[in-house]
């Protein structure tokens, strides 16, 4: 005997196809021409930032860095659907979303270099330092979102992880807590096909990652992660639902990272083929959106070149700003452990500085 308890489908959202043609007019977001151009500018900046960050890492001028090219539409489109008061809770690859949510670029460079200042975001910016432990941010998001609800503030918390992150226990715990409390949260999964070297097919037997939301009793949506308008539309809907008190949503954006997992020795040629890479490059989010904008007369190659030059200047300025920040110290580290150092830490601090040690 069996009992049908529920039947589920996972909606798939796409607005632009690979050639930049609109596939779903109903979902086409209501954005102004300026907003559309802004989306493209941000994707161009992100691509240039990625190329520059990779070079800087190779030169030893940055520390930890996880490349983002290929994921621009997922990153930029989803953050664009939030408001300044909303909270962005990033994983280690999610620097562009943090940047556009107000995290200063030079501080992101300091984060990469392993400087304490990299985590000190300005008071009016609702972002926290990117998370290293896969999935840890998912349960914290439930708490931040519940905090908004308890304070009676109509803001939303969006958090990011990858396909590998959906295998973590914390992923389910976070969605389940947010679902149980109907907390205003959006769980955004960037399925970039590989958790370091492990392909999605070996990550889970589930046909989609979006369906993992069903077990937690919250909506799960799959979106073409190379289509910025599709990503924006899906995220905006989830953000609006959360803001209206209708609870959390999980979004799976199907995307691809062109580069290695991080710049710390990963070699993608060991686990994926040139053919796979070529297939995904045909879906490139910048090419697709550029075609769309050019057809509407909103974008020219000359303008793009000009934005690229501006991006390079912005990045150089931020680097100079990061270089000017004094190196962090052991004393500063000790002082950061508690509001007031404990007696034990005061002793250890004195041993290091040579002031009144015993």
């Amino acid at each position: 005997m069996s009992k049908t308890v529920s039947e589920h489908t996972v909606p798939y959202v796409q607005v632009l196809d690979e050639n930049g043609n609109v596939t779903d007019n109903e979902l086409l977001p209501n954005l102004t021409d300026d907003q559309l151009r802004e989306l493209m500018k941000r994707m161009v900046f992100t691509r240039i930032l990625d190329q520059r960050a990779i070079k800087l890492t190779r030169q030893g001028r940055l520390g930890f860095y996880a490349p983002v090219s290929g994921q621009e539409a997922s990153m930029i489109g989803s953050e664009f659907a939030t408001e300044k008061e909303d909270f962005v809770v990033p994983g280690y690859r999610d620097l562009p979303q943090s940047l556009y949510h107000g995290y200063p670029l030079y501080k992101l460079f300091l984060y990469s270099r392993g400087h304490q200042e990299g985590g000190r975001v300005p008071e009016d910016v609702n972002v926290i330092m990117p998370q290293i432990i896969i999935g840890a941010q998912i349960v914290q998001t439930a708490g931040i979102a519940l905090g908004f609800k308890l304070k009676g503030e109509k803001h939303v918390t969006i958090t990011y992880t990858g396909d590998g992150g959906t295998s973590q226990g914390d992923f389910y715990e976070g969605m389940n807590f947010a679902g149980a409390y109907q907390a205003p949260a959006v769980f955004f999964v960037q399925n970039n096909q590989y958790a370091i070297s492990v392909p999605r097919e070996k990550q889970t037997a589930a046909e989609t990652l979006a369906q993992k939301a069903i077990a937690a009793g919250i909506p799960g949506v799959q979106v073409d992660g190379m289509d910025i308008l599709g990503v924006y539309a899906a995220t905006k809907q989830a953000v609006d639902r959360a803001r209206a008190g209708e609870g959390p949503t999980m979004i799976e954006a199907v995307t691809f990272r062109y580069g290695p997992h991080t710049m710390s020795g990963d070699d993608p040629t060991r686990y994926r083929t040139k053919e796979t890479e070529a297939t995904w490059e045909k879906r490139d989010p910048l090419v697709r959106f550029r075609s769309y904008l050019q057809a509407k007369g909103l974008w020219t190659d000359e303008e793009e070149q000009q934005f690229i030059e501006e991006a390079k200047d912005t990045i150089n300025d931020a680097l100079k700003q990061a270089d000017a920040v004094e190196k962090m110290t052991i004393e500063g580290l000790i002082d950061a452990m508690f509001e007031e150092p404990t007696a034990t830490l005061k002793r250890q601090r004195a041993e290091i500085t040579g002031e009144g040690a015993n």
């Binding site: 304490q116 200042e117 990299g118 985590g119 000190r120 975001v121 008071e123 926290i128 330092m129 432990i133 840890a136 998912i138 349960v139 914290q140 998001t141 439930a142 708490g143 931040i144 979102a145 519940l146 905090g147 908004f148 308890l150 304070k151 918390t157 226990g169 914390d170 715990e173 976070g174 389940n176 807590f177 149980a180 580290l333 950061a336 452990m337 508690f338 509001e339 404990t342 007696a343 034990t344 830490l345 015993n358």
Partner: protein, 326 residues
């Protein structure tokens, strides 16, 4: 003044803080309507509502992650881990997340979180309920660990813990919950974190201990005084991280001898740390090596042999005799 058990003192302290500061939130498994498995939160949900005192889904990492997020939002969460043996499930959220929030955000965010949890042996719980895992948190930078041994201390220390702007792990020994009553003032008072308490004065040996072993050590000292005419000084650490080495040093300078009594397994724990610090600060005052009274380095045993495994008044007296003979 009222006579209270430790569990009543804890409920009373939570009540005071919930009333005093609307940012204080109490949550965990069964803490709402049911009042907690030990009734530590009895009546609080009825008094403060489901937004201030609430049940969580059954997931320890989720509970502490939730506390982390709420702390970022400016709340003062007091989450409960139902039994401390379950803390491994939440270890990442405590050690990698909450304990590091102030540091990794450069002070932009901090975690005024008090994690309460029952622990401690001698009550025949199923396995992985009683374990003394406090030593793990001694090795975790960024958290303070408090272990009261009396109802009076439990109230004063809990008020300090909740008002502290950093994470505190507050461990409540299950055997002490209802084992005795004590005068506990109705009004607010705090006991500073990081200060030990000399609970019995003596000139011959210093006993450094905490939790349920404080009572065991006091009884041993009384019996020893009666039997041998020697006086042991008993120090209740009250906070095991940080350790109040000044109080210990002062005592060792007077007595010249010391033993450490703990319920946790021997190696690399609170006792080891106390001895290391005595070596650093008072070795020239010692007339004998510092001894440890502890269970062996095994897993915490099943109920049948708990009483044999845990330190007893008898084993403390044996150590006192031994340290005098060295």
């Amino acid at each position: 003044m009222a006579q209270m058990t430790m569990i009543q003192a804890i409920t009373h302290a939570l009540d005071l803080e919930l009333a005093r500061d609307e940012k204080v939130l109490v949550f965990g498994e069964d803490v709402g309507n049911n009042g907690g498995v030990f009734r530590a939160t009895e009546g609080l949900q009825k008094k403060y509502g489901e937004e201030r005192v609430f049940d969580t889904p059954l997931a320890e990492s989720g509970i502490i992650g939730l506390a982390n997020g709420l702390a970022i939002q400016g709340f003062r969460p007091v989450p409960e881990i139902q039994f401390f043996g379950f803390v491994f499930e939440a270890f990442d959220q405590i050690a990698s997340q909450i304990a590091r929030l102030r540091y990794r955000s450069g002070g932009r965010y901090y975690a005024p979180v008090t994690i309460r949890s029952p622990f401690g042996g001698g009550v025949r719980t199923p396995e992985l309920h009683s374990d003394s895992l406090e030593g793990l948190f001694l090795q975790t930078p960024g958290v303070k660990v408090v272990i009261p041994s009396t109802p009076y201390d439990a109230k004063g220390l809990l008020l300090s813990a909740i008002r502290d702007n950093d994470p505190v792990i507050f461990l409540e020994h299950m055997r002490l919950y209802r084992s005795f009553r004590q005068e506990v003032p109705e009004e607010e008072y705090t006991i500073p974190l990081g200060q030990a308490n000399v609970v019995r004065e003596g000139k011959d040996v210093t006993i450094v201990t905490y939790g349920a072993m404080v009572g065991v050590s006091q009884k041993a000292a009384d019996a020893w005084a009666k039997d041998k005419g020697l006086e042991a000084e008993v120090i209740d650490l009250r906070t095991i991280s940080p350790i109040d080495i000044d109080t210990i040093t002062e005592s060792v300078k007077k007595t010249g001898r010391a033993i450490v009594v703990q319920e946790a397994q021997r190696s690399a724990g609170v006792g080891a740390e106390v001895i290391a610090q005595i070596n650093e600060h008072a070795i020239y005052h010692l007339e004998a090596p510092v001894l440890r009274v502890t269970p062996p380095d095994t897993v915490y045993p099943f109920g049948m042999i708990e009483d044999e495994w845990l330190p007893t008044q008898h084993s403390v007296v044996a150590a006192l005799n031994k340290v005098m003979s060295l």
